[in-house]
């Protein structure tokens, strides 16, 4: 099987704290993976290493055939996009957030695409000009998710992004993520404790006390 991302003996340590132990992981292109495990076990750390937000202490991480060190971190993060649990929105309005991915690529915001994306997660065009302080937690989370996919990444790393959503919005986000995965072939890795999300995955991985267990 062709791995888009491959980890070999990846370790992460801060001072004398050993957070990840010899993680080996093959992530096939186009997979939809869920990552579970007790809190404090190292799940978020593992995703942040894959996202190049922090660097592993030892081991190898290959993305698309090349070691992670050979990529410019900025360009890499545009392909392997990480979405935070409880994200903060910046600026004043929703538009400030959704224009940001265009700004950093020196492009003008494609309003049509932005509105379609808002609709896809159950938000209306009107949301675009709403001040961020007026948004509910669930709306913020969905705006943050859109920020990550306006330019489709190859990999989307989701850190408990549905935890703050009600059942109805969770369904909307699930359907949207499935579409990203199946139609747009975005490889998704999602940290979750939600039973439905776990069932829907191609691969179930679990991090317990810094060690990874994978179940196909």
């Amino acid at each position: 099987m062709n791995s888009l991302i491959s980890l070999e003996k990846v370790n992460y340590q801060i001072a004398d704290q050993h957070i990840l132990h010899d993680v080996d992981w093959q992530i096939p292109a186009g997979a939809h993976i869920t990552l579970t495990g007790p809190s404090g076990g190292g799940k978020s750390t593992l995703l942040r290493i894959i996202a190049a937000m922090i660097s592993k202490t030892s081991g190898t991480l290959i993305f698309d055939g090349q070691p992670i060190e050979s990529y410019d971190p900025i360009m890499y993060r545009r392909q392997v996009s990480y979405c935070f649990q409880q994200p903060t929105l910046f600026g004043e309005t929703v538009a400030d957030n959704l224009a940001f991915p265009y700004q950093i690529r020196k492009q003008v915001m494609d309003t049509q695409r932005v509105v379609t994306a808002l609709n896809n997660v159950g938000l209306s065009e009107r949301t675009l000009h709403q001040p961020i302080i007026e948004l509910s937690g669930g709306e913020r989370q969905r705006v943050a998710l859109i920020r990550n996919i306006l330019f489709l990444p190859k990999v989307l790393l989701l850190d408990e992004v549905t935890a703050g959503l009600d059942e109805n919005n969770k369904q909307i986000v699930h359907a949207w993520l499935r579409q990203l995965n199946e139609q747009d072939h975005v490889t998704t890795i999602m940290i979750t404790h939600d039973a439905t999300e776990i069932d829907a995955a191609d691969q179930l991985a679990k991090v317990v006390a810094g060690r990874l267990e994978v179940h196909a």
């Binding site: 996202a51 190049a52 937000m53 922090i54 660097s55 410019d72 971190p73 900025i74 360009m75 993060r77 545009r78 996009s81 990480y82 979405c83 935070f84 994200p87 903060t88 910046f90 940001f100 991915p101 700004q103 950093i104 943050a144 920020r147 990550n148």
Partner: protein, 251 residues
Amino acid sequence: MNLAVNNTSLFLAAMLVLVALGISLWQKLGLDRDIVIGVVRAVVQLFIVGYLLKYIFRVNNLWLTLAMMGFIIFNAAWNAKKRGPGIDHALAISLLAIFVSTGVTLGVLVLSGAIKFVPSQMIPISGMIASNSMVAIGLAYRSLNSQFHDQRQGVLERLALGAGLLDASIAIVREAIRTGMSPTIDSAKTVGLVSLPGMMSGLIFAGVDPVRAIKYQIMVTFMLLSATSLGSIIACYLAYRNFYNEQKQLK
């Protein structure tokens, strides 16, 4: 000239120090030692500077003047650096920022004929410019440090979206530059209404017509705006990268 401070009057004025000492002892502020040290240092430093300037003004040598200006700029950079703990190369950055802001501002003043390249004008003006640039840079450093701490999550999110380091920091950098410049802008607004600043007061004291004195103060207002904006922008643009490591991750 109607300047009348002589040694006797200075000695009598020293009784004002006793007021501060008395308050410290009476209210048990524990400041008496610091007051004595402060007063002795002020007297000794100013006497040394007085004689040194007298000598430099008399010999009127280009290199000696430049050396004295360099000394002022270095000291200003050293003090600005202390306000940016944790920022690597803060001394080099401050030195460049103060050197450029002082150099450009002085250059414009000299070329426009507002001041002459003589030590008695260049040295005091350099000191005013460098010290304001120093304060602005120090404020900007503090602002960078506190914002990178408080807005850590926002910076991380921008990075995760694939932003370059400047795109991830630009809001913080702008705010830090603003913080550096704002005291100068605020004081420009109140100048003459709240305080009669040093330059103008000094000239009036020395018997200069107030209408001429304010022209110098107007020049000072202009030059401080230039110095603090240049100092802040150079320092912030060079310092923000320090908050990231080689892998372009937030430290």
